[in-house]
């Protein structure tokens, strides 16, 4: 009996968004079908994975990840170059964790100088992230946006509490903007509307529906992403057509499964592989549910996800 493939076609399409410039520039999005559904539509771009770099020595990362970067800590330029040159990163995400009031309270001016140095050193695209302190991020990202002008970076994250200033800074300096809201399709939609109402071009937005880790709310992010993607494609809702980000590393590398040694929990198996698997499974799940851009920490997890992406090509 012949099988007629029940293909789905949609009216909507995800915006294609470019980051960086020159040879190492990348682009994400552009598809008119669900993730990896090239068998029934067009998926012109592969997902992009950025490796995370911080402006300070990250004392809250577990040893298994810290070991990977032990020679480049404390020097964001060397760290970013290590990611680009030694680890083959497609993009770098510089998280200005040290600007958080509890983590050193580095000034906006000083962190902007760091951003500038990193930008001048690397060729791959840069994503500049604040410390997720809504108030401090406003000051930090405004200064960072000024030095990032002309580099086609993304900055973020703009949230409900601080989007006005950050979106204005991104607009003034012609940058892409990550807009994050908390695990709810309607909140994502509302924030994207508020930002575009300021005159911000929605084709320069990246939606971050808020990430989570395997076993720690993964299903929420997973389903919010699927709902956003379906709304963008099937309902052709332009507000939800920006590509999506999953900021995986910061959620994964703080959970118990990536920290507890095998000696404490023998039934969980070896810590090194368990941690890598935790990040890789979280990341690949969000690629399946709809993310086009990932931020990750462990290069071995990135390798696994890249192999997975390659196998998803039919």
């Amino acid at each position: 009996m012949p099988f007629t493939p029940p293909k789905e076609s949609y009216n909507g399409k995800i915006f294609e968004l470019g980051l960086g410039s020159g040879e190492k520039a990348v682009a994400i999005g552009g598809e008119n079908v669900l993730s990896f559904h090239g068998f029934e539509g067009s998926t012109p771009r592969k997902p992009v994975i950025a490796l995370e770099v911080q402006d300070i020595v990250p004392d809250d990362w577990p040893q298994t990840v810290r070991d990977v970067y032990k020679d480049v800590y404390g020097d964001p330029v060397a760290w970013a170059l290590h990611c680009q040159d030694k680890l083959g990163a497609q993009a770098v995400a510089l998280r200005l964790a040290g600007t958080h009031p509890d983590k050193g309270d580095i000034s906006a001016e000083q962190s902007a100088a760091t951003v500038k140095k990193v930008l001048e050193a690397i060729k791959v695209p840069l994503i500049v992230l604040g410390s997720n302190h809504a108030e401090k991020d406003t000051a930090v990202l405004v200064k960072a946006a000024e030095v990032a002008k002309g580099f086609n970076c993304a900055i973020g994250k703009a949230q409900e509490a601080n989007y006005k200033t950050i979106a204005a800074a991104a607009m003034a300096n012609d940058l892409k903007l990550v807009a994050m809201s908390e695990l709810d399709i309607n909140l994502s939609k509302q924030l994207n509307i508020l930002i575009t109402q300021m005159g911000f071009d929605r084709e320069k937005l990246i939606t971050d529906p808020m990430c989570s880790a395997l076993s720690y709310g993964l299903e929420y992010t997973y389903s919010v992403m699927e709902r956003i993607k379906l709304a963008a494609l099937a309902q052709n809702d332009p507000v939800l057509q920006p590509p999506m980000l999953a900021d995986v590393g910061m959620y994964v590398w703080k959970v118990k499964e990536t920290q507890a040694p095998e000696s404490d929990l023998p039934e969980w198996g070896g810590l090194a592989q368990r941690g890598i698997a935790w990040e890789a499974v979280t990341a690949s799940s969000f690629l399946v549910s709809g993310a086009e851009l990932l931020i990750m920490r462990h290069p071995a997890a990135v390798e696994a996800v890249k192999k997975f992406i390659a196998e998803m090509e039919v």
Binding site: M1, Y216, K254, K256, P266, R274, I276, A280, V288, E303
Partner: protein, 446 residues
């Protein structure tokens, strides 16, 4: 696929006799379409109508049970493509492949890995569900020896026998009579023989096709041979093929009512690269696999996959809950901080994770709030001063503490006075609003 009321009406006698209790046949048809009435309420219905309506009311993906007894796994019966629409029904089974080319010692080791794979996670027992005994040798005697070993060593574990040889299948299946095994490997060359062996052992038949056309053809032919329970493989092996074929199969079964693929799907994730195998298996968990075959079991891989399956198969409408009790984090002494929160599993995980990370030993009281988070539970009246004080009093925790002090979430600071009134002698301290404020808060107290 379900019929509409009008389609059902056409099959009814149209006498409006009211014997079914409805005023007209059309009204009865509407009730049937909504599954609020059953066809046997109509005394005059024709055999033809019974058959058509019976077929239409069968679930679009046939339920098939793998194994028997306490470890039996139900498969199929899925109703949606996306988990936000409705809960995914039957969590997929993980099966570890054991080749009959292995030595007895190596095969026994793999069986041990399966048997010892069980872990307890948020109150659920999770494990590798089944073994996939593979006739890689092509030798019937070797497959039977492996089947015998599995039947002796792991008699409770559900079994999938994989071979292309009906005679080898018959001998191996004989060790699992009445145990709802699956016989996998039926193709265009051996279908009749395989179907016969499966029927004899009351096993489900696993169709091994090369593509979706062939798959549909084989299931129809198997049905013609009297086989009802099947699991199906379209031949997809690469991750992208698995996504494509599983998506087509699920859509065809649910949206087109295409019966030839209305069966649980078996997917193969075995890879040399263990990390890649984990990710491919994860894809099968997310995208419609009912049996996921792995090359091996290992503790870290099992934990990641069990957790993913648990996440994907949770009911999106019902929050996951943890058991109400006082959890010890680290090794708390009589002076260690004592905190309270609600039993939404995510709340518990995040709060306990932050406490663990800051390495300050604590006692954490987790109160049953029907799975709601702190603020929602408070708003819904599930996390109130009287309920908190009752829980604390009944827990008898007092005796373990040097100082009777309870730290409550910052979001319910408003409750502190009322709890103090109801818990005489206790000091109520307001903690941070968000869990990520706990490390700074606890370290400052230490």
């Amino acid at each position: 696929m379900a019929l509409t009321g009008v389609e059902i009406f056409k099959l009814l006698p149209k006498t409006n006799c009211k014997k079914c209790g409805q005023p007209t046949c059309l009204a009865f048809a509407m009730k049937l379409a909504q599954r609020q009435a059953s066809l046997d309420q109509c005394p005059d219905v024709s055999e033809e109508a019974k058959q058509k309506l019976g077929e239409a009311s069968a679930p679009p993906i046939r339920p098939v049970t793998l194994g028997a007894g306490a470890r039996a796994v139900k498969m199929g019966e899925e109703t949606v493509l996306f988990r936000h629409e409705k809960k995914f029904v039957n969590p997929c089974a993980f099966a570890v492949k054991i080749e009959d080319t292995l030595s007895e010692a190596d095969a026994a080791k793999k069986l041990d890995e399966v048997l010892s794979s069980e872990i307890d996670r948020v109150g659920q027992k999770l494990r590798i569900d089944a073994v996939f005994l593979s006739n890689d040798s092509g030798d019937a005697a070797k497959l039977e020896a492996l089947a015998k070993l599995a039947a002796q060593k792991a008699p409770e574990v559900p079994v999938i026998i994989s071979t292309k040889n009906p005679d080898a299948a018959g001998a191996a299946l004989a060790h699992f009579n009445g145990k709802n095994a699956v016989l996998y490997g039926a193709d265009s060359g051996n279908l009749a023989g395989m179907a016969e062996k499966a029927k004899a052992a009351k096993a489900a038949l696993g169709i091994a096709a090369g593509n979706l056309d062939e798959l549909s053809d084989l299931t129809e032919k198997a049905k013609g041979l009297g086989i009802e329970d099947m699991v199906i493989d379209s031949g997809a092996r690469k991750a992208g093929e698995i996504l494509r074929d599983n998506t087509y199969i699920r859509r065809a079964a649910l949206k087109k009512g295409f019966k030839p693929v209305g069966f649980p799907v078996i997917n193969f994730a075995e890879r040399e690269d263990q990390m890649l195998e984990t990710l491919v298996a994860g894809l099968a968990v997310e995208k419609y696999g009912s049996i996921v075959v792995l090359g091996s079991a290992s503790k870290w891989k099992d934990l990641a996959l069990f957790s993913l399956r648990q996440n994907i198969y949770t009911d999106p409408q019902v929050p996951m809950q943890v058991q109400q009790k006082i959890y010890k984090i680290g090794e708390p002494g009589p002076k260690s901080p004592f905190l309270i929160t609600t039993n939404f599993s995510l709340t518990y995980f995040i709060v306990s994770g932050e406490i663990e990370n800051c390495k300050v030993p604590c006692r954490l009281a987790v109160m049953d709030s029907e799975g709601l988070s702190v603020l929602t539970a408070w708003a819904a009246g599930k996390f109130t001063a009287s309920k908190i004080s009752q829980f604390i009093t009944e827990s008898g925790i007092e005796g373990e503490l040097e100082q009777k002090e309870l730290i409550i979430p910052g979001y319910v600071a408003i409750l502190s006075g009322a709890i103090e009134d109801k818990l005489p002698g206790w000091k109520i301290t307001v903690g941070p609003r968000e869990a990520n404020g706990l490390p700074a808060f606890l370290k400052a107290r230490a």
